[in-house]
Amino acid sequence: MTTGTAPDPALVHAAFEQVWGSMLFTAFEPWPADAVPELGPGVQAQIELRGDWNGRIILTCDTEVATQIAGAMLGAPAEEVLPDDDVHDAVGEVLNVVGGSVKGALGGVMSLGLPGVTEATSPPSPDSSIIISWYGAPVFVEVVPDAA
């Protein structure tokens, strides 16, 4: 049962901003309010938070963006072709670090699960997502509480 409050969007925003700068060496840019985010075939990373608040943080982006994020994180040369497993692993680790930052900021008794990464089967709703711009492509972030 969840007794605590869900992570504030500003807190999640701040965690991504920190990770974008320190792990991906990229300026964090929110998605422009007047732009329509579109998602092609993509990947979805999830991590669970358990304790005073129970739910998941979910990151969804298209496959090309995931590959670019992995390349930035690994400092991979442009010509290096990263296997899907490495791309999934890197995106999962990005979310793991974000989840850790959010958990630490929430306080209380909390634990963090291990990240899981799958193919994205459907695009998230822009209305329920924080959307980050990755060089003009959207990265969707959702904070989803467990069903009551």
Binding site: Q18, V19, S22, M23, A70, M73, L74, G75, D85, D86, D89, A90, G92, E93, N96, V97, G99, G100, S101, K103, G104, G107, L112, G113, L114
Partner: protein, 130 residues
């Protein structure tokens, strides 16, 4: 000097490995605590340093540190937790279990080098690092 990186993320092992290799370390890797124990048992020459994630499948980092500290023959290994776990009680638990240092993700290469400098484990002078 040799270093063992224990992290279930290949990406994180690659990042930490590159920093340590640039600093002059020979790097060993393991994907969880049990695999790390297997790696240590197979070494004729023990690593001077182990960088250990907390949350891993099979055997987590805290259990690994506890297991290492039970083995007198592994006492020479300096243990540094490298983890997203940032709460004060986690840091206290890790240090009480036998970790010498604690580095919170995300971190910079400079932050890792500063920790190694504090531990006296920089193989080459920091000023010589590119």
């Amino acid at each position: 000097m040799r270093a063992l990186i224990v992290d279930d993320s290949r990406a994180m092992r690659r990042i930490v490995g590159r920093i340590l290799s640039d600093a002059g370390y020979e790097v060993l890797e393991a994907g969880d605590g049990q695999e790390a124990i297997d790696v240590l048992e197979a070494q004729a020459e023990l690593p001077a340093l182990a960088c250990v994630d907390w949350n891993m499948p099979v055997m987590d980092g805290l259990t690994f540190i506890t297991e290492v500290r039970k083995r007198p023959e592994w006492r020479s290994i300096t243990l540094m937790m490298v983890t997203t776990e940032s709460e004060q009680d986690r840091i206290v638990r890790a240090l009480a279990a036998g970790a010498h240092e604690y580095l919170i993700k995300p971190f910079t290469g400079e932050a890792l080098m500063e920790k190694l400098d504090l531990l006296g484990l920089l193989p080459v002078p920091a000023g010589d690092l590119s």
